[in-house]
């Protein structure tokens, strides 16, 4: 991807008017603060697994799908997403802004500001907070400072400046959660079933390139495939095989969208027996063939891709 990508998503499908900027693969910012209609269309996977992201909603409701869980954010909600979590933005009607940065940047700033509570990566894959309007205003102020910085021309210390603003955000977040540091309103209670599901997702993260059968994951989790499916059904409302295939589809979309790999390379990376099998698998889940998907969504499509 190009280094300072200023294209609004309107370039892709001509209908949206969302501000979107990725800075040197390290920071991603998007918002529709200046849009009046508040219409947000489903977005492609904008950043990869090494990013830590946050979403804040000012008005309306934002529909997301996080690791298979369908989640709706309401005004003054603040969602923090850990790395290696699949977040898909679905069609919504809201005013929101979001900032994502490479995980190490976020963690560094967190540790600088607060050495007492160590940040564990996999404690929760996501944390959902609900703040007051004044607190949300503060986050918006900080976001606007960062937006202004990102839009300036490149200069040697721009990254440091962005990190400083990330630190400000971290301070604001810690301040806002100071009365109850770990009590994010998690959108689900952490039952043992949920723990099993989280472990399932972790395994998917590790093995999705090779194994796509429910039986494999069930065996790793020491349970029957039926039981695993039952757990998935109760947590996210989808069976285990659907969760697996949606996860794989998300990662494939990410690869196609962000990297320069061809369809054949992606299918080999994921150890599909043939490219045609891969194509049919993708079409069954996503609805269009990989080639069509790339045509619709990828600006960097190289004509020589097979």
């Amino acid at each position: 991807m190009s280094t300072a990508n200023t294209q609004a998503l309107s370039d892709i499908n001509g209908r949206q008017n969302i501000f979107f900027k990725m800075y040197h693969e390290r920071h991603v910012m998007s918002d529709n603060l200046e849009q009046k209609s508040g219409v947000v269309e489903a977005q492609e996977p904008i950043y990869d697994q090494s990013f830590c992201a946050m979403f804040i909603v000012l008005q309306g409701s934002l529909n997301l799908c996080v690791n298979g869980l369908d989640l709706t954010l309401h005004p003054n909600d603040y969602l923090v997403v850990m790395p290696c979590t699949n977040v898909e933005v679905k069609a919504s009607r809201c005013i929101f802004f979001s900032h994502a940065a490479q995980a190490h940047i976020i963690f560094d700033q967190y540790e600088e500001v607060n050495c007492n509570i160590p940040m564990t990566k996999r404690a929760f894959s996501l944390r959902l907070y609900h703040f007051s309007s004044t607190q949300t205003e503060r986050f918006k102020e900080i976001y606007l400072i960062m937006k202004r910085e990102v839009l300036r021309d490149d200069y040697p210390m721009k990254e440091n400046s962005l990190r400083a603003i990330t630190k400000l955000n971290m301070v604001a977040l810690l301040e806002a959660t100071s009365d109850a540091p770990m009590s994010a309103v998690v959108p689900y209670p952490m039952t043992s079933q949920r723990q099993v599901f989280e472990r399932f997702i972790e395994l998917l993260d590790t093995y999705y390139t090779h194994e796509r059968s429910v039986q494999f994951y069930a065996k790793r989790l020491n349970m029957s495939a039926k039981y695993l499916s039952m757990i998935s059904q109760s947590i996210v409302g989808k069976s285990a095989s659907v969760v697996i295939s949606q996860y794989v589809a998300f990662r494939v979309k990410q690869l196609l969208y962000r990297s320069q790999l061809s369809i054949k390379q992606v299918s080999e990376m994921l150890n599909f027996p043939t490219q045609s099998f891969f194509g049919r698998y993708f079409k069954r889940i996503v609805g269009c063939s990989p080639r069509q998907y790339m045509k619709q969504n990828c600006r960097n499509l190289n004509a020589s891709h097979s």
């Binding site: 202004r148 910085e149 210390m157 400046s161 400083a164 603003i165 400000l168 301070v171 301040e175």
Partner: protein, 308 residues
Amino acid sequence: MTETIYNTQHSYMQLRFLAKSAFDNATAAVEDYIYLYDNFNGENPVAVLIDDQPEFINRQTICVGILKGQVDIVIDGHPHVMKSGCFCYVSAHCLCRFLSMAPDTQFFCFSVNQDLMLDVYRDMGITFKMPSRYKKFVCRQLPASDMLYRKSLYKELYTELNRVAPDYQKHVAQAYLCIIYSNDFELFEEDVPDSSRAISRQHALFRDFVELLGQYSNQEREVQFYARQMGITPKYLSALCIEYSGKNASSWIDDYVISRVKVLMQENRYNIKEIAQVMHFPTQSFFGRYFKRVTGKSPRQYMISNGL
């Protein structure tokens, strides 16, 4: 960690901040991380600054934004002008003196502790360039929108420092300073040529003297004391002072002592008798005579004429 002083209520104290940072043993000054000062409520600092302010050494780095008007200042013997629309940086440990300030001047400034400055430099990734290599005074003309943006950052920092818990104050200050400095990074790219950085031994001695004054002028008023601290004769010290500033050593001491007394008077906490004690004068009458000899007025007359 000491608390930050971000209270800008007392207008006189606002403008004595530079003096305060030189007097770190004086009444209320503490070596804090950052001071924020401005005169947005429109005070006119002219008379106060020119008459009363002796030369002093600023302990902290100072960043000033001039919104309106103009300030003339002498730094390390070189005159500089801070015009409206300018944002200036003054390094720490410079010999400073105000010459004049236009009546309609509006400014805001940060006075930053060296420790915090080092952290900011580190955040900005400047590790190999030692701060002493930077020019003593750098000034930059900003377009109006940039200056307004800085002003809004200043105001935000002010509200944030008032609002956040003490643990986070330093980080917040660090972050805002990093943003401001990063915006001006090119000012710090230039290398200062060696010749202008070198300070002769005499100049170094003179600056030591001024530093000592900052430290001990509330107790010691003898040239002998300071000369002995520095390992030179009183005659030599006086000669140095005359060479670098035109005033002899005892005039310098007098100026500093009287400045401190005036600061104490402004604090409104002490009466004349207490001031004499705090400043280690043997008796109140001696203090009165000393004050009159230097300023021409008696302490009470001075306090009355200044509305205290």
